[in-house]
Assembly symmetry: C2
Homo-oligomer: 448 residues x 2
Amino acid sequence: MIQQVKAFFRHPGRLIPLLFVAVILAGTLLLMLPVAHVGSRATRFTDALFTSTSAVSVTGLAVLDTPVHWSWFGQFVIMLLFQIGGFGIMTSAVLMALLVTHKLGLRTKLATRMEVSQALNLGDFKAILLRTIVFSLIVEAVAALALALRFSALDYDLGAAVWYGVFHSVSSFNNAGFALFTDSLMGFATDPWICVPVALASILGSLGMPVIYEVTRRHWGRRQWSVHTKLTLIGSGLLIVLGWGAYLVIEWSNPATFGQWAWYDRILPAFFQSAMVRASGFNSIDIGAMREDSLLASIILAFIGGGSASTAGGIKVTTFFLLLLVIWAEVRGEPDVTAFRRRIDPPVIREALTVALVYVACNAFGVFLMQRFEPDIDITSIMFEVTSAFATMGQSTGITYDLSEPSKWLLTIAMYTGRVGPVLFAASLALRARKRLYRYPSARPLVG
Amino acid sequence: MIQQVKAFFRHPGRLIPLLFVAVILAGTLLLMLPVAHVGSRATRFTDALFTSTSAVSVTGLAVLDTPVHWSWFGQFVIMLLFQIGGFGIMTSAVLMALLVTHKLGLRTKLATRMEVSQALNLGDFKAILLRTIVFSLIVEAVAALALALRFSALDYDLGAAVWYGVFHSVSSFNNAGFALFTDSLMGFATDPWICVPVALASILGSLGMPVIYEVTRRHWGRRQWSVHTKLTLIGSGLLIVLGWGAYLVIEWSNPATFGQWAWYDRILPAFFQSAMVRASGFNSIDIGAMREDSLLASIILAFIGGGSASTAGGIKVTTFFLLLLVIWAEVRGEPDVTAFRRRIDPPVIREALTVALVYVACNAFGVFLMQRFEPDIDITSIMFEVTSAFATMGQSTGITYDLSEPSKWLLTIAMYTGRVGPVLFAASLALRARKRLYRYPSARPLVG
Ligand SMILES: [K+]
Ligand SMILES: [K+]
């Protein structure tokens, strides 16, 4: 019996989600301590659970105003939780990917012919773990220094400047999106000394460890990068530029957002929003005041999300672009789906399709449920909120504070499953793959 | 030069869309004749074009009240248009499918091993054409007789009863959804003698010629049916039952829809709505009064649509279930996607994915545009209207009459491309497929 229980938990696919639950519950307890909040209003269990889940899943949605409700200790706990959560999710995803690579290598013996996410073949888990820690610390330190200097220049006293620098830097790199300002970073919308470090740290955090590992190795030429790395880098770049342009065009004359600034001051906030919506979820403009089209664009971008094995959410950049590549190959009548002179292994396409469709279905179900819970909130805000939670993005049109209890529970579950689910789901799909000794004759039903 | 022009138009993939345009324009001219309408208000070009497109594409959306605006001649022209349109779309789709089969047969020489939509291997185009005509006439005659008897029993005089019977029968089988009542079939919501013949004719029309051809052949055992036929029949049945249940549950206590009737009188309208939303687009309840959840369910069902090479629209039942089968195979770790003890040819899966995603993208783009044109209409109604047009379904929450000119043009284009597009698109995808003499080494990017 004990043996069986041990064996059950030894598999990382079962251990990882439980570890996340454990950290979330520990965080909930710490946040419920009287010392964690200021003022007389005690923290309710559901609100503490929501906050802890939001931090560990590096989402950033908040039912309580972070700078107003939480004490310094509470804020420190939240920072600890999203540092643990961000590190945990990166390493978990890498671990699962290594398991897949290992199993595929053992079984198919194709390792020499097939580029099984090159980056992960090159080192063992320990080396990747070490690289993750070192890289995280360097980026966080540099961003923290830059931010602290800026806060200091804005007349914060030294201790506050350092604390604000560290908190927002860690929050950026781990794509947590928690801010120590009630209006997130809206006060710094046109301040490049705040927005650029936050954006860069966020983007670096959103690329994912396999990409970082490959790009930071000593001897490399661009040619040797894996398809995964090229697809993630070029895809992320494209999405940032597309989003940047879309926000500029749509919000240009909106007096509640970009319209309040001179034309040259609209460039930075548009870039910032484009970078944030697929990563950290900070906001430097009022999301609730954005036009409907911007909200829909944001929902799509958040849904796509960042890189695999990163702290960003969504179906992931590679998943999205693989589906586009399928369409491209199909329209051109190519027998293979190719990218960067490599043929994409067909099972990967099935995986991508499955991940995307299951994601759409879960997200739609969440919207369907919340719409029942919140009959008075418009459908766009509900779609935005649910997608934000499920893609662990963290922006909100401003409805989070006023949600009913069922909706808060729904978002809590969405943040947790949106974070832990895809990592395990994609890997388990790849791990489940088995051989058949017989095959049925083939059929060709009509389509369309 | 003339030779080149001739060669250009000889290809059915170019000829078919032009033939549809020709019929639509001829219909527009006929509908603009003074004799086509009653009353002093002349028919404007855009409204005549909209009506003609709606009829030829067998959609059923109307910017003018069919029984009020049009004379008997006008109504007769509309009936002619949707009879030509319905027959044209069925035969075009069969023709394209035969071309694909032929090309695949020539090229891959796999015809003996592969079940290339069995039904279409068995006869030549003429035989299928003849079967289509005979089957259409029989179903239309039987339904017309049943409806005429009922209208007669409802005290319509003989001529009117026959005309109403014929018009609604042809409208049903061709999934056109045009009705001679201002409120569609709401006056007969609980009358099985009207609703059942309409529903049966609609469902038969929505299965598609390959299925009809296979099911109506003389000697058959269920085992010999093709995967296409089994998937379409079982899929359609499942969707009807699911929709039936969903509408019953959601609308049960809605005083504006089912709530007005005794409990046993709610069964029929729920079935009717479930059958109509994927086929004809008649309605026996007030669509605009339905609950938000019902509207969303309707959008999904309309989007899935009916059978391939039928008069129903959408991405088609087989496309939808193929994608579900991919997920099922993926989750179970099966190397092949299988259905009914047949392995689905992998290129078909890529086709299904492409059709579905391109469809989603076009539909979303339509919603995006109409939202700009109609800032005062809620997003759900716009989604419903655009999907209804693009999936040539024909129900409306009631906003069609009041739309701006750009929106009417948008819907006109949506109805035309939604009808002609998928047939040609899916076939052209299959026809474009080519061989490569070289293959790149394979790669396996991470997903999720
Ligand atoms: K986030
Ligand atoms: K229709």
